[in-house]
């Protein structure tokens, strides 16, 4: 009985993994072929294996700078998001204060604004501030959807930690900053890992705002990729290679936080 149940589960899992991997395989497959080959014939693997697309990306600064720019603003954004979300999440999980529930829901509503709505106002705001085409501009704009998410996730983790721990620490004479950094933070490591992964991911893949707020110096890889669309047709192979490379940093991040996710979190309140 258990044996058969186990097998049914594995079949489902393998079927899903196939469904998940096939489009990615197709992208990787395309990245090793030339444009003519992609468009002229159907083939399950590259007939004339070529690294030309990868060579283009790694030798052309306007391509690889895109990755560097993206990594810079994603890193700034993740650090700020987690930095401001930690104390706020602590406040929401530990205290009642005037308007707490409303502020919590208001934060979530910021995740509900379509980025398309904010394109023009953001453009004007950052032009006025002289922040256009800087990494910090994109990082700040992405706070709009990452900070609420980080507060939400961290609050769930913190509510799972019994309040007695705080009280004992205060009785032992810890001040708030010292207690927070040396006692509390290690307890919610997992939450910080998971929240950081989600912030990284949402900032990494966002296109509309990042493209609008940058032109040359901070141009992210997602915007650079739109260059492959031109009047002479699509440069499918280079786009596929660039796409394959965009997965790499995220895959590294998830590798580091995998234990935190596997450790689990249930979310207390919400």
């Amino acid at each position: 009985m258990d044996e058969r149940r186990f097998r049914k589960r594995s079949i489902f899992l393998i079927a899903y993994l196939l469904f998940a991997l096939l489009p990615i395989y197709w992208m990787v497959n395309m990245s090793f072929r030339s444009n003519e080959e992609i468009l002229s014939s159907f083939s399950l693997w590259p007939q004339h294996f070529t690294l030309a697309s990868y060579k283009t990306i790694f030798t052309d600064p306007s391509w690889y700078d895109g990755y560097i720019n993206s990594l810079i603003y994603v890193a700034i954004n993740t650090v700020i998001s987690i930095g401001v979300a930690l104390p706020a999440a602590y406040a929401f999980s530990r205290y009642s204060f005037l308007g707490d529930k409303h502020v919590f829901f208001w934060l979530l509503t910021n995740r509900m604004t379509p980025p398309a709505v904010f394109l023009l106002p953001f453009f004007q705001l950052y032009t006025t501030l002289g922040l256009m085409d800087t990494h910090i501009a994109v990082a700040l704009a992405h706070l709009l959807f990452n900070v609420p998410l980080a507060v939400w996730i961290l609050e769930g983790f913190m509510s799972g930690i019994p309040r007695e721990i705080d009280e004992t620490a205060y009785i032992d004479g810890y001040g708030f900053p010292r207690f927070f950094l040396t006692v509390f933070l290690p307890l919610i490591k997992a939450g910080v890992g998971v929240a950081a992964f989600f912030c990284f991911m949402f900032s990494w893949v966002e296109l509309l705002l990042a493209r609008t707020l940058t032109s040359v110096n901070a141009k992210p890889i997602v915007a650079t990729m739109t260059r492959t669309v031109s009047a002479s047709g699509m440069d499918w192979a280079t786009l596929a290679a660039a796409g394959t490379l965009t997965i790499v940093p995220g895959a590294i991040v998830i590798w580091f936080v995998r234990h935190y996710i596997a450790k689990g979190f249930a979310m207390g309140r919400v």
């Binding site: 197709w26 205290y95 910021n110 893949v205 895959a251």
Partner: protein, 294 residues
């Protein structure tokens, strides 16, 4: 309960400032536009609620809204159960757990415009794996010509893209259940379904709530993927709200109506999320009293 402490506001202040900077200022600009007719940067006329009335009467908008609601509903109905099943079938420990986690998360990390482009090729009958496979099975599949095919392709693409988010959250929720619960259930001889219904599902409530709300709002704002894959076509079969809005704002340079549209759009999402949020909270509490009584 939680102690009352107004000074907690100081801890929330940084978040408040950050989000206010990137939300309230731009939102005010949008509100400002929505009540004016901007003829040129120097000449603008106050028009009151005229744009709002115009937008609400817009037949094309009603069409886009209905398509959007249908799409978001389909997304939730497919992705939430699929994500839960996937989380339940993922291995819990060892190298296989790590490997499956990374593979499952891969599709989340691909930029949205690449997702659309890859599926554009992937779905083509002559050179794409999916299109060719369906053709070989005798299905007359053509996502650029047939409205139903296009809609289904966008849905399948979204399922492929975002089910991992639901699965990762549920997986993390499941892992937090102490073994003692399962042991108790085994002693009671509880069926697999009972374990799911009375232990796993209630424990996943918090993460499921995040998953449902996130998937709802993000699918309601979907833009890049269908734009790249189908460009909204054929006809307007896959023109969802965001894309219709962008057509208006960018295509026709109609700032006033576009701003009014944006606000209405935002209010619709807000209202639906509010209903969903409260509904899910009440569902959870009912469960608890049920368990307590039973």
């Amino acid at each position: 309960m939680k102690p009352i402490n107004q000074r907690a506001w100081f801890l929330v202040l940084p978040v408040f400032l950050c989000v206010a900077f990137s939300a309230i200022l731009p939102l005010m600009t949008v509100v400002n536009y929505s009540v004016q007719d901007i003829i040129s940067p120097e000449r603008r006329v106050f028009v009151g609620t005229e744009w709002f009335a115009a937008v609400l009467r817009d037949e094309e908008l009603h069409g886009a809204l209905l398509r959007q609601l249908g799409f978001s509903l389909a997304v939730l109905l497919v992705e939430i159960p699929l994500g839960i099943c996937l989380a339940l079938s993922m291995p819990a420990q060892g190298w296989r757990a790590s490997a499956v986690l990374v593979v499952v998360a891969l599709s989340l990390l691909i930029p949205w415009n690449v997702v659309g482009t890859i599926w554009q090729i992937y779905g083509r009958a002559d050179i794409g794996l999916l299109g060719a496979a369906l053709q070989a099975l005798g299905v007359d599949y053509n996502y650029t010509g047939d409205a139903t095919d296009a809609w289904v392709t966008v849905l399948v693409m979204d399922v492929w893209h975002w089910t991992p988010l639901v699965a990762l959250l549920c997986f993390a929720g499941l892992r937090s259940i102490p073994d003692a619960y399962y042991q108790a259930a085994r002693i009671d001889g509880a069926s697999k379904f009972a374990v799911f219904r009375y232990i796993q599902l209630p424990k996943m409530r918090g993460v499921l709530m995040i998953a449902v709300l996130l998937r709802f709002m993000d699918s309601f704002m979907i833009y890049t993927e269908p734009f790249v894959l189908t460009g909204g076509g054929p006809g307007n079969a896959t023109t969802f709200l965001s894309q219709y809005l962008t057509q208006k704002a960018v295509g026709q340079f109609d700032l006033g109506p576009a701003a009014a549209f944006s606000l209405i759009y935002f209010l619709i999402i807000l209202l639906l999320c509010f209903i969903l949020y409260n509904w899910m909270q009440s569902v959870g509490t009912q469960d608890k009293s049920e368990v307590a009584h039973g």
